[in-house]
């Protein structure tokens, strides 16, 4: 059975304190790994797609990387507005358009 595990469940950082969020996955052939950001009371907002091991994507203070078993979302010098829940999802290689989501990491950045 496909499984996506995110860690930690919650993370508190001081403004400017860099860190990483982890997403480990087991899937029968990976078509794509997706990172989303979700603010309270809102739907998930798409951040990145990664397709193959070694791939990296960047957007402002966020950088996503992918290996054969896990993905990291690195946050460099975070600001309070980066506070949100970050969700990881995988799409398996069977041709289905379904995503399997992890339970998310709730990030709080204190000023």
């Amino acid at each position: 059975e496909d499984q996506v595990t995110q860690s930690p469940e919650a993370l508190r950082l001081q403004e400017g304190e860099s860190s990483s969020l982890n997403c480990s996955y087991t899937v029968s052939g990976l078509r794509g790994l997706f990172w989303y950001r979700q603010d309270p009371g809102k739907g998930p907002e798409f951040l990145f797609t990664l397709y193959s091991a070694g791939e990296e994507k960047e957007k402002e203070r966020l950088k996503a990387t992918l290996t054969k078993k896990e993905s990291f979302l690195h946050i460099t010098a975070p600001k309070p507005e980066d506070s949100a829940t970050y969700l990881c999802a995988v799409q398996e290689g069977s041709g289905s358009e379904k995503l399997v989501f992890g339970k998310g990491t709730k990030l709080t950045v204190n000023p």
Partner: protein
């Protein structure tokens, strides 16, 4: 930008009622999805659709049905609402294996 609109942000219904949640997307996407999101359980797929009048069960379809009569509209139906269906419901759409885009959700309370 893709816009996915869910008809209600908040909804309160009584047990036994038939409840309709509506979702409309404006980007001619063939794929549409319904999820529910609960604390500690993450996002779980209820139903999805690849085309008009086509539907497939997700991971938790029991107690729900769907309707897709037009490409842009995907409806979730709670046949006889129960208290354990109190949740945040999220609709998403996509084209091919591209990222899913989400609406802002409907917070449904069943009393």
């Amino acid at each position: 930008d893709v816009k996915v609109t869910q008809s209600s942000r908040y909804l309160v219904k009584r047990t036994g009622e038939k409840v309709f949640l509506e979702c409309v997307q404006d980007m001619d996407h063939e794929n549409m999805f319904w999820y529910r999101q609960d604390p500690g359980l993450g996002l779980r797929l209820i139903y999805f659709s690849y085309d008009v009048k086509m539907k497939e069960k997700g991971d938790i379809p029991e107690g729900y049905s769907v309707s897709r009569e037009k490409k842009e509209r995907f409806s979730l139906i709670l046949e006889s609402a129960s208290t354990n269906q109190t949740s945040m419901y999220l609709c998403a759409s996509s084209v091919g294996s591209q990222p899913q885009h989400f609406g802002d959700g409907t917070r449904l309370s069943i009393l």
